[in-house]
Amino acid sequence: MKAYRSMVLVSSDPLSMERGARQVFEKIQQDLESFGISDEISLTMVGDVGRHDALPLVIIYPEAAIYGPIKTEDVHHLVEEHLYKGRIASELLASSRELSGRIAWLNSRKGTLPAENRIVLQRAGLIDPNNIEEYIIHDGYEALGKVISGMKPTEVIDEIIKSGLRGRGGAGFPTGLKWKFVAQAKGNQKFVVCNADESEPGTFKDRLILEGDPFSILEAMTIAGFAVGASEGYIYIRGEYALARQRLEAAIVAAKEMGFLGKNIFNSDFSFEIHLHSGAGAYICGEETALLESIEGNRGEPRARPPYPTTNGLWNKPTLINNVETLANIPAIIREGSAWFKSIGTPSSPGTKVYTILGNVNVTGLVEVPMGITLREVVAIYGKGMKDGANFKLAQTGGSSGSIIPASLQDTPMDFDSFNKAGVALGSGALLICNEETCVVDLAKVLMNFFRVESCGKCAPCRIGNQRAYEILDQISEGIGSLSDLDDLELISDNLFQLSNCGLGQTSGTPIRDILKYFRAEVEAHIRLKVCPSGVCSMSGHKVHA
């Protein structure tokens, strides 16, 4: 592989593109040529670098100098100073106050910010995601090599069991056990499926992994295929993720050319193929059995479970389904060992968790931190406090069906077991932080609107329950609710939980339940006093048709 003196990365998330990242990229290219140094410098557009403060960012390695926001007229000076003369163009550096997340971590060696701990996002934003050689240089395919050249499938599974890794899609099922179930299932043909149908509102961690480090998912799936005895894998990626799909397509081609995918991997007897399958816009397809239906070409309606996909999955064959973030942990665990992995996070939930921080905080975006950090720490350190000095009112964890956490619970450690004890679901890792201007009735209405739209309609409790809950909340927000409506809401929430066929319906009543538990007085004010304490609801007094 060709060696470069410097590596230049230009951020290419949607906001950077809107602010002219493409033009900046092209201008850098031109200037490198005019200085005659284009052979010495590698120049790449990277995906999303995690945070959205001083975009577009231009990051130059090995110095890890972060410049931003960079306009085309800054480029000539930047190239001349940093790349031609070798001096940091300090006046163009992004203000360290505006940087956070991974990007700030690069600077934090000076001790200004607590370091994140990155396992699954280890390479995202650091390497060219289209270049397999860069992946290999950064520990890529070491784990697959180790597995194929010296481990038995059962040893691989034991290592994952020992690591204590739990699924990162939301439910937290022990990953190693799932692998074992599939490995033990009867049948000659088995499948590995990567669930990349990330549709949970507020969640985009999988997108960043796929866009920033696509090879890690291919490597992990190949290891999984070896361990459970599958020769074919599917990645089901949500239809809206066009860039992630392109990156995966290119990665599959490159991995095949290098012999990391396809027939006789590492010249062994093991062969593995990966197919890409795009969704077409349906939240429910993130539910694993709906996802399987969708791959088979049907409506994404969940199956009844049991039997579970581990024995009766894709085309009724034993199938291993893992979330993107779960898979991204696999190569590191194999490489560094289960003892290393267990040393991070909490004893019952080892490893890290990627959170997306959203809402009324100063800095929104994505962090990867050890399991067990508290909500208060996340808001204060990574969110840099509430926006405009407002007060924290509540947070919703894990997307639309997640729990509503009042201020009194913000010191609960965020790991699977502590959250279970507090009656809270960790879910997908979305953290929606709301200030006092948020009305709980209005928020619940938005959430129930989501579920009435996204319910697949297969079973009645979910199809009718979510619609009815939305209508009731709508009336309350117009000031024409009655106190008996609250009993109805509680009943609907219970019925959804107990009677729905799949996880979507079972959890969709969670926000209603939590709001009535923690914020009942505020909801009752809408009914008894015909007042929205936050001043959000229109309280028009007449029915607005849903």
Partner: protein, 162 residues
């Protein structure tokens, strides 16, 4: 006569689009969603004639095709405008000012959710989370994504489209 030629042109373009999609993915039942997606991209929606054609090539009943085409948000069985605006109505965009942007957007294009303008320029849709929540409120126009939108910026964004 002119009318007939036009109609057969339309029918031809449907047949061409269907054939290209089926050739690209193979005439297999499990490729139904990618095939319909491709047709939708080419024609802007999936007309009934396209369902007939796919049904024949895939040897799948039309009812099944329709059940799939009507299930997924990215597939449409109704004609859409030249430009499709999708506005995210999920909670993360809502709590950072999405409601005000949505109200202004409806005024700007004189449409409510699900409607297409009489001149066929815009279709306005609300959508569930698009996965770019870090920069909410978010909307897409065709393939372009816009984040951190303030109500005052809508006019200049919409003016970019003919």
């Amino acid at each position: 006569m002119v009318q007939n030629t036009k109609q057969s042109d339309v029918a031809n373009s449907v047949i061409v689009a269907v054939k290209a999609a089926v050739d690209a993915f193979g005439a297999k039942r499990e490729e139904m969603i990618p095939i319909l997606n491709e047709i939708n991209k080419k024609l802007g929606y999936i007309p009934p004639e396209a369902l007939d054609e796919v049904s024949m090539l895939l040897k799948a009943p039309k009812s099944q095709l329709y059940s799939v085409a009507s299930f997924y948000r990215m597939l449409s069985t109704k004609p859409r405008g030249r430009h499709v605006i999708q506005f995210c109505e999920s909670a993360p965009c809502h709590v950072v000012g999405g409601k005000e942007v949505w109200e202004e957007l409806q005024k700007q294009v004189h449409l409510k959710s699900g409607e297409t303008s009489p001149d066929g320029k815009w279709t306005l849709l609300t959508t569930s989370c698009l996965g770019v929540c870090g920069v909410g409120p978010v909307m897409t126009v065709d393939e372009d994504i816009y984040g951190n939108i303030a109500p005052g910026e809508l006019q200049s964004i919409l003016a970019r489209y003919e």
